[in-house]
């Protein structure tokens, strides 16, 4: 059976799209609702995944508790990032966020004793020993499989998307509240919000922290899905994938995120089937780079013809 018709392949694409949904939802809260240019979002994913893995392997902690610690630590990371930087102008804030994520990645690469270094989590228990953090996850997934009478991929698909869609609904509900209204007002004009008594800084910090929690949850699923990761998995490119998803789907709405993630995932995976001329002139590694070119072209096309994204509101784009 060819890959394009393989169920296993597409369920993998679906799982990754679900993880991206959670990840990009954080960017949607931070930028789409609160107007924060966070280019270091991948850091929260890394904090969530690494905290969980380290606590399980080194401290023998219950995996669920370790996962909770991962989310909490990512939120704390959001506070620490936000406190000194959120008063900066938007562009300077963007620069410091990308520095934040790169600093963490370099620390993770070099602090082998804490993180396993560039070898990744397999090295967490020390050289010569193979560390695993996901035994508990495997048995959980196994019980989902037997409970629902489905295969492993499908069980993962169901779990990831259940969590992702719950998060989408939660964000959607939050944005309909007066709290969400304040966030949007800050995105529109923070001086106006301040003039009406809103503590702009506190709300930005909250948006950053909520986004950080979502990023960390995505990081946990990433870790569970791949059973192994290294610092290089959390390179800035991943942050920009989240941005692409949010732009593809449309800014300022929660439910556009899963749509953007699926479209992104399909384009990303789909380019590997470009095995007809002229693409067949390229070898498979060269073809792998095509996907970024294709996504770049799609975004350029969107900016030209549908700047609001696939489901964004055109009217909101033209108002001044």
């Amino acid at each position: 059976m060819s890959t394009i018709a393989s169920f296993g392949f597409w369920s993998f694409v679906g799982i990754v799209a679900g993880i991206y949904t959670l990840f990009a939802l954080g960017v949607q809260v931070q930028f789409g609702f609160a107007g924060l240019l966070n280019f270091g979002h991948v850091a929260f994913m890394g904090i969530g995944a690494y905290t969980m893995a380290i606590l399980v392997v080194k401290e023998d902690m219950n995996m669920w508790a370790a996962a909770g610690c991962g989310v909490l630590l990512a939120m704390l990371g959001g506070v620490l990032l936000g406190l000194p930087t959120l008063r900066l102008r938007a562009d300077y804030f963007a620069i410091t966020t990308i520095a934040f994520s790169e600093i963490l990645r370099y620390v993770a690469t070099n602090e082998d004793r804490l993180t396993g270094g560039s070898q990744g989590t397999i090295n967490l228990a020390g050289i010569g020993k193979t560390a695993q953090y996901d035994d508990q996850w495997r048995s959980f997934l196994g019980s989902v499989e037997s409970g629902l009478h489905v295969g492993g991929d499908v069980a993962m698909l169901i779990v990831v998307w259940t969590v992702a869609l719950l998060a989408v609904v939660a964000v959607w509900l939050m944005m309909k509240t007066p709290w969400g209204r304040v966030l949007k007002s800050i995105r529109e004009d923070e001086d106006a919000a301040a003039s009406l008594g809103k503590n702009v800084f506190a709300y930005k910090l909250q948006a950053l922290v909520v986004g950080a929690a979502l990023g960390a949850i995505a990081g946990l699923f990433y870790a569970w899905q791949f059973s192994y990761f290294s610092p290089d998995d959390f390179a800035p490119l991943l942050t920009f994938f989240a941005w692409m998803i949010v732009i593809l789907g449309g800014l300022g709405k929660a439910w556009t995120v899963p749509v953007g993630a699926i479209v992104f995932g399909v384009i990303f995976a789909g380019t590997r089937f470009f095995d007809f001329p002229p693409f067949s002139l390229l070898d498979s590694t060269e073809r792998a780079y095509l996907r970024l070119i294709v996504i770049g072209l799609v975004i350029i096309g969107l900016m030209l013809f549908r700047p609001q994204g696939i489901f964004g509101s055109r009217r909101e784009m033209v108002l001044e």
Partner: protein, 258 residues
């Protein structure tokens, strides 16, 4: 005389070498409608920004209801009951007209995550009450028909009225209006003026406003403060000020004799 609601003392604010506000002092009396006038570049807008916390004062002090506010951030000043409008209305264009007004409600429990999660019923009840009040205010400024529209579709004059409704939603005690009549058609401007007079009469609200239309200033205000080159050069009743030589000089651009 009671203590002034706003006391500005020797406030200084420079931009590089320019002393935009250069030792300005004045009082605003409780329940008054006070006009702040002066030629372009006199420092009126800078002073507004300092009083409302959008710019820090480099010298001097500002007291609101007897408490120093010159070190307080803008949102805290607004919460204490000193709320401003902007010369160019800061309309939140991609929010509905109604949301613009709802946003201004003060002490809304639904604006805090803790309030939302722990006491959702209370947040909902507050939102209902706020909605009711917002519709009243939109009726007051005749924007009720636009309640559900994006605020971005409003004209410049309508935006001024929306700003005004928004300020009233905060239940302020002192309102700073920055050129409330500029760009508003005369009929709407007249309505706005009547609202100001009515609010003062009924609610005891105090207004301090910058305005270039001297006819409006003379008609509406009880006191006039005149600024020139960053300083207050005269203050008094509209009649006093009109006949003041320094004021005439400032407006005619003649260098006052020293």
């Amino acid at each position: 005389m009671s203590t002034p609601i706003l006391a500005v003392r020797e406030v200084v604010r420079t931009f590089g070498g320019l002393r935009a506000v250069d030792g300005a002092s004045f009082d605003v009396e409780q329940g008054s409608i006070t006009a702040l006038i002066g030629p372009n570049g006199a420092g009126k807008s800078t002073l507004f920004n300092v009083v409302s916390g959008f710019l820090s004062a480099e010298g001097g002090s500002v007291q609101f209801e007897g408490r120093r506010i010159d070190r307080a951030p803008s949102h805290r000043i607004a919460r204490r009951g000193l709320v401003r409008t902007f010369q160019v209305p800061r309309t939140l264009t991609r929010l509905s007209v109604l949301d613009n007004v709802l946003l201004a409600a003060s002490g809304h429990p639904g604006e805090r995550l803790s309030g939302l999660l722990l006491r959702p019923a209370r947040a909902r009840a507050y939102e209902r009450k706020t909605r009711h009040r917002a519709h009243e205010l939109l009726e007051l400024v005749r924007l009720d028909k636009h309640a559900q529209d994006y605020a971005g579709v409003l004209s410049g004059g309508q935006r001024k009225l929306l700003d005004f409704a928004r300020v009233l939603m905060t239940e302020p005690r002192l309102v700073l209006l920055d050129e409330p009549m500029a760009g508003v058609n005369p009929v709407l401007g007249r309505q706005l003026l009547e609202h100001v007079l009515q609010l003062r009469a009924e609610g005891g609200m105090t207004f301090l406003f910058v305005e270039h239309d001297l006819a409006v200033v003379m008609e509406a205000s009880d006191r006039v403060i005149v600024m020139n080159e960053g300083r207050v050069i005269a203050s008094g009743t509209p009649t006093d000020v009109r006949s003041d030589e320094r004021v005439v000089d400032a407006y005619l651009g003649v260098v006052p004799p020293t």
